[in-house]
Amino acid sequence: MKVQIDPGRCQGHGRCYDLAPGLFEEDDEGYGRVPGDGAVPPGQEQAARLAAANCPERAVVLTEEA
């Protein structure tokens, strides 16, 4: 599973870094950011799904790998 943030949609609500601080961080203006390549470590899949499901702007993109 991978996570990405669509910078065209993100408005800095911060739900992703609130709910999944291991996967997302905030930049200097409060917008969400994915450090590294966005690969979700084992055990953090649920946090990734919660972050995506709670983003008011639908800016968190989840890619489920086969």
Partner: protein, 423 residues
């Protein structure tokens, strides 16, 4: 070094302001679908049944009051308008009986909330670093100590007014600290807030006089910061630059007015509404006392169900919008509370589900105008509830009929008598 004389002249414009005024209409609403008013007592007391009814049968209500306006009640309509800054302007975001002239755009009186693209982005960018989650976390310890001191002062009372004696003081203290205003001026801020948000249907002369009182105060504070710069947001704005120049004086004062007004009423309302819910819902209160880790989740649900803030927009050009025959300069009341209770978007939309995990609520708005203070508001709300529940785990409504709610675009309890302890 040149002297900064931007703030020395009189700021008051001569004569009545340009723009248009309409007849003020007050009194009972005949039909909420054709004559709505968010300033009438029925709406203030309980707007949710009205919104639910409109969503089911309308869903975009109209009013001839305020010179004409619309009230969408579905999530998807509220979202579409929030995103559509091409056709809906923010040049006034308080639905009133006065429309500022079109030339006010794209800056507006209180940038960036009153600004349209492209200016909006640049004015907002100035503020963002001061309001990140990391930046506001530095205020958490002082906020917690202040909340404890407020609870200390309630010691010994059986019944307290949690809106007046607790919730109100927290955002006032935090924003006064951030702006570098004297903490003892707090009581004046409540009056400024009330004038701006609840004084919408006052006669224009009185409304203008109250606004002048606010801006007189702000210019005094700004001049004091010009003379004595310090490490706070006021000095930051006085010294900030945009497009290679220091900000226009009305931009500095307008932004400070925004931070003061929007920083207080909103969070005061969210804290108060949360305590009101917990006071009347012992199961939720007991669960949060037993499971403090649930609070961040619960808080989002309380923000969804009792979202304090409604915004407004002005229609730019005549158009038919999703069946509504909108005219240029019609208001649109952008009800985030109504969107948050749309059953098409939320399961059990009308209930508080205290452990709701999937909660894409819009209490802080959507799109480019997302509340710039949302991280600050969340910190204040969390700390205020943590301290209250830790110190006063048992409480209930002393007199449900005595609870009063603010009318207008920011809704929350203004009188909230709570009985403390198990007695």
């Amino acid at each position: 070094m040149t002297v900064d004389d931007r703030f020395t002249g009189g700021f008051r414009k001569q004569g009545p302001p340009a723009g248009t005024r309409n007849e003020i209409v007050t009194g009972p609403v005949s039909d909420w679908a054709t004559d709505f008013s968010h300033l009438e007592p029925e709406w203030a007391a309980d707007p949710y049944p009205i919104q639910d009814d409109l969503r089911a049968r309308c869903p975009i209500a109209h009013t001839g009051r305020f010179g004409g306006g619309w009230l969408p009640t579905r999530y998807e309509d509220v979202a579409a308008i929030a995103y559509d800054t091409e056709r809906f302007s923010s040049r006034s975001i308080i639905m009133s009986n006065y429309r500022p002239p079109a030339e006010t755009a794209p800056v507006g009186a209180t940038p960036p909330i009153s600004s349209d693209p492209p200016f909006h982005h640049d004015a907002r960018k100035l503020l963002l670093p001061a309001f990140t989650k990391k930046a506001v976390a530095r205020r958490e310890e002082a906020t917690r100590a202040f909340c404890h001191s407020l609870v200390d002062a309630l010691e010994g009372a059986d019944v307290v007014d949690a809106a007046r004696d607790y919730a109100q003081h927290i955002p006032i203290r935090v924003i006064a600290d951030m702006l570098g205003f004297p903490p003892e001026d707090g009581p004046r801020f409540s009056r400024f807030v009330e004038s701006a948000l609840e004084g919408v249907n006052l006669p224009p002369e009185e409304r203008m006089a109250r606004m002048d009182e606010l801006f007189d105060y702000l210019y005094d504070q700004i001049r004091d910061h010009v003379d004595n710069p310090r490490d706070d947001l006021t000095t930051y704005l006085v010294e900030a630059e945009l497009y290679g120049h220091k900000l226009q004086p009305n931009h500095v004062a307008g932004t400070i007015a925004l931070l003061l007004i929007a920083g207080i009423d909103t969070t005061w309302s969210a804290i108060g509404a949360s305590l009101w819910h917990l006071a009347k819902t012992p199961a939720d209160r007991e669960r949060l006392v037993a499971e403090p880790d649930l609070l961040p989740t619960a808080m989002e649900e309380l923000l969804r169900a009792y979202a304090p803030v409604t915004m407004a927009r002005l229609v730019k050009e005549d158009m038919s919008w999703r069946g509504a025959d909108m005219r240029a300069d019609d208001w649109v009341l952008l009800s985030f509370p109504a969107a948050n209770r749309d059953p098409e978007q939320f399961e059990r939309a009308g209930e508080v589900v205290i452990d709701r995990e999937v909660n894409r609520h819009v209490a802080f708005g959507l799109g480019i105008h997302r509340c710039v203070g949302s991280h600050l508001a969340r910190m204040e709300l969390r700390v205020a509830l943590e301290v209250w529940l830790e110190r006063i785990p048992v409480f209930g409504l002393a007199d449900p009929a005595a609870v009063t709610w603010a009318a207008g675009q920011v809704r929350g309890p203004r009188t909230l008598p709570l009985r403390l302890g198990g007695a």
